[in-house]
């Protein structure tokens, strides 16, 4: 069944357990940097997950999604600088900023689709980026950093990387569960249909624009929250957060992990950030090998890393088939491989 590509509940549960156990294990092993690193991975994983809603299930390629990360980061940083450190207040403001900005950008950009949609999102995002660089009072190009930690009315203070990590983990888990339900819901069915054939969707009575807009707003709002989380982690914000190349990185994460899969974007975020950091340690010209790797990925694994999983499943099927009688072989391999393909 093609529902398989949304990820199995058991797979999600295993991933959650590993992520929950990470901070104590990392500290015990004397690698506290791993917590910060994974926190960053999860933030971009959350953003890529949100982007995948419109890209992988709505068929809309946005080259401006980093702008929501930037807006979220600015919102939190400005509040922190003004001395407003209440996390609930931050969340409320993030939701308002996210909803409004994505509603406006979406309402304009979704008048188009395809390449035009990509260009409009890019243009609008760059517009906001240049507004950011012009904010002299808030550091202009260089951005600004702030001191202090967010607190949740005495319940919780995000005073160290571990607490921030868990707060981020909470958000990405929430987003994953919501996404898992959403993709199977009536809305998800309608959205996936508009991706495959928007003309047909209109002709059965589905107002495509409205469904795309709601998906875009959901996607943009979760990205805005990811931006707020990034500000918590770095205690810093600059217009670079919303530069178009950051949007392109988000697209890459989704492509690497597997477009239209539930967990793919999170895995893609981890892979891209790991690759960037790993290659940067080896050579100052890390972009060159990264580029070559990405080209190879696009050629050999159209569906990103999720393809490798399929290859893995295929290999196991083949081994199993070998153990069975030769007569059954053909049929067994045939059916097993067809099931495994997403």
């Amino acid at each position: 069944m093609n529902n398989r590509k949304f990820g199995s509940p058991s797979g999600i549960a295993i991933l959650c357990l590993i992520l929950l156990a990470l901070p104590p294990v990392a500290v015990a092993m004397g690698q506290p940097y791993a917590v910060t690193f994974m926190a960053r991975v999860l933030i971009f994983g959350l953003a890529a997950l949100s982007l995948n809603l419109i890209l992988g299930f709505g068929g809309l390629t946005s080259l401006g999604h980093a702008v929501f990360i930037g807006l979220g980061a600015y919102a939190v940083s400005l509040m922190m600088q003004a001395g407003a450190s209440n996390g609930f207040l931050h969340l409320a403001v993030l939701l308002v900023v996210g909803l409004l900005s994505s509603l406006i950008i979406g309402a304009v950009a979704l008048r188009t689709s395809g390449l035009a949609f990509l260009m409009v999102t890019l243009a609008l995002a760059q517009l906001i980026y240049f507004v950011g660089t012009g904010l002299r009072r808030f550091g202009g190009d260089d951005g600004f950093s702030f001191r202090g930690h967010a607190d949740f009315g005495g319940l919780l203070t995000l005073s160290n990387d571990t607490s921030i990590y868990y707060y981020i983990l909470f958000w990405i888990m929430l987003a994953t569960v919501l996404m898992y339900r959403l993709l199977r819901s009536r809305f998800g069915l309608a959205l996936r249909a508009t991706m495959g054939n928007s003309q047909r969707a209109e002709s059965i009575g589905l107002p495509v624009f409205r469904y795309r807009l709601v998906a875009f707003v959901l996607s943009g709002t979760f990205c805005t929250i990811a931006g707020g989380l990034l500000a918590y982690l770095t205690q810093f914000v600059s217009p670079a957060y919303m530069h178009w190349s950051r949007s392109a990185e988000l697209l890459l994460m989704v492509l690497i992990g597997g477009m239209g899969t539930l967990l793919g974007p999170i895995i893609g975020a981890a892979a891209l950030i790991l690759l960037e950091e790993g290659l940067a340690m080896l050579t100052p010209h890390w972009q060159a090998p990264l580029g070559i790797l990405l080209v190879m990925l696009v050629i050999f694994a159209r569906n990103g890393i999720s393809d490798f999983r399929v290859l893995f499943v295929l290999a196991i099927d083949r081994l199993r088939a070998k153990a069975k009688s030769p007569a059954e072989n053909e049929a067994q391999v045939g059916t097993a491989s067809r099931k495994a393909l997403p």
Binding site: M1, R186, R192, Q199, I204
Partner: protein, 280 residues
Amino acid sequence: MSAVIHGYKAQSQRFVEHKAEPTSTLRRQSEALLSVRNLRKSYGGLVATANVDLDVREGEVHAVLGPNGAGKTTLLGQLTGQVRPDAGHVFFDGHDITRLPVHARARKGIGRSFQITSVFPDLSVLENVALAVQVSQGHSFRFWSNAMGAANLREPAQKLLERVGLAQHASMQAGTLSHGQHRQLEIAISLAGRPRLLLLDEPMAGMGSEDSSDMVKLLKSLKGQVSMLLVEHDVEAVFALADRISVLVYGKCIATGTPEEIRGNAAVRVAYLGISEGDA
């Protein structure tokens, strides 16, 4: 072929002379399910639809016949809402729908199938139909519960698949179906919205003779339950199915009548059926 036409003699009694002036046909509006009045559309110097009048009555199969470039697709586009007419009106069930967008017309009860197969390739066959059922039930802004777990989507969708003969392929991805199966799925999707009028754009296009006769059978079985406007090249299929036929040439509707009357019409012979002179 003539035997097939005799079978539909009962329906073919109701012949209405094609009327040139729109004013005299306006009063018929209430009788017809779909009325097209004085519809006009041109692309630059090319007049694709030249003051067309057309009526589809409740329950009838009305075929639009015409050579290539006669403006059949443009006419259909104006009925579905994809093409904006320059002038004229389209009435459905007594309401002026000339300015309504595609999705709103669909919700009013106009279903359609496409000339080039148009399904949702990434969804399963069952999901394709279930979605169409879902849309007919109201808005789809429900984000939590599993759509395919809902019996009020699954069951009607399953029934429709049985009806068009695709039940055994329900869980296949729609993109992997054969051409004939795609056409069957198209019809199932179009029927799922319980349309009152079905606009069929060359449903037999690109089909082998076997698939084609299956499709004729399927459409015959729908006769009486849903009105149909059939745009089709396959003259044999049109004469087997249609209660009335309108002939379109260079964007003009040159004749409307029962299959016999169309066969006997001199203007039609010259313009179109001339090619199959020996046949008639």
